[in-house]
């Protein structure tokens, strides 16, 4: 089997599907944003915490909890 030939066809199909999928998503995101802003606007939302992904924060959390507990246990030692 000419797997190089086949894989090139896959590439064409694949990139097409990926781009189509994401392009439709882009369009729908726009439509959605318009509809929501028009019909369901939020009232005086507090500053949106726009952060990408939070894994590191949760990792820090454990350390900070540990730190808080350490601090507090200094005062609560029995």
């Amino acid at each position: 089997m000419d797997i190089v030939g086949e894989s090139i066809k896959f590439m064409v199909l694949g990139m097409l599907v990926v781009f189509t999928f994401l392009y439709v998503l882009v369009v729908l995101m726009g439509v959605q944003a318009k509809i929501i802003n028009k019909f369901f606007p939020e009232k005086k939302q507090p500053a949106a915490p726009v952060s990408g992904v939070t894994p590191d924060i949760s990792e820090d959390e454990s350390r900070r909890i540990a730190a808080i507990i350490a601090a507090i246990s200094e005062f609560r030692k029995n």
Partner: protein, 439 residues
Amino acid sequence: MKIKHLFFSILIAFAASVSSLQASGGTPAEQPQKDAYVEKSMNELASSFYNTTGLKAFISPKEGVKNGQGEEMTPFAQSWGRLIMFMIIFLLFYLAIAKGFEPLLLLPIAFGGLLANIPIANMTGDHGMLGIIYNMGIANEFFPLLIFMGVGAMTDFGPLLANPKTALLGGAAQFGIFGSLVGAAALSQYTGFVDFSLEQCSAISIIGGADGPTSIFIASKLAPELMGAIAVAAYSYMALVPVIQPPIMKALTTVEERRIVMNTTRKVQKLEKLIFPLLVLVMTLLVLPDAAPLIGAFTFGNFAKESGVVDRLSNEMQNSLINIVTIFLGLGVGSKLASDKFLVMETLGIMIIGLLAFAAGTAAGVLMAKLMNKFSKEPINPLIGAAGVSAVPMAARVVSKVGAEARPGNILLMHAMGPNVAGVIGSAVAAGVMLAIFK
């Protein structure tokens, strides 16, 4: 940059070692029959004890010794092979701990590899600790989906919703997958170096998606025999994103382009974030149901988080559950670092294609961003295209760092998060296309 040298010298040492290997025979063997204990003299006892030491196993490897799966191991794999694996593993420890490269995954994988290479203990067998873990959640692709669920619960699509068109960058970067697919096919068809089938090429190329869980998921479906090497390559290169990407990003952009400042993003409403995962899932089920497990798990996590009414559950997904699964996934994947599985020519091929895939994805993302910058009213810094490979959130951080080098104070992080999370969806879509083709 010393790390890069270290890394490539290991690759070369690896190549050398592999070429001295013979193919491992390997038919699943019957369970070893346990013999009843017979009386022994003190001398016999001591000598029989010596026969069960690892020292003996290293010094005098034997033909016919079997691995955890009942396949015969070559004498090389039993002795030098293991020592080479230990070197590779200690390198991984060094990278994880001293250099901070993806320690959450690299450290358990490497430790799993250490355990997998212990002679005699057979920890990768069905009754061994690593084998139990592997069968529990990796063979059936359950753990990768749980990880994906947790990642979904950690992901904020706000930056993408604020600037939807950056999603296209996450599409372009998938050229890393399809370009390397062609590369893998060519490597296999035109050289005698390795002999991959079309399914194997497809499974390998998903490394370019820079999503560990997606890679493991697809490998298990299309080429389970290569899953170990694929997973290791995927995680290793994700760890190497800060080494691999910057030179490519700099080579393809001018300093002026890298200095472009992007506009601040618009405010995104909560309802948009709530509906978005459902939108993605509905599109998936209409267009590409084969991607439904991946996208389904991911959007479930994200929907649970954005709903705001099941914080108990979404916190669980992001913390305890993903931690437990990460421990197990790491150890389980590490079990595939057994010398006889890992030190084969295919691994070398996979490592090379994987590197190519990351490079191609990065390049395609950057070039697409350059193109979009040409036609866009608002300025687009081409660097953010590199974040389209996903490797969330490291690729976005790399973008921000390279951008800040060109113009101190220029924070591209939020702008890079858009293509970054779009890249996760893009890879899952690409993976779904592969599954659909081979249906």
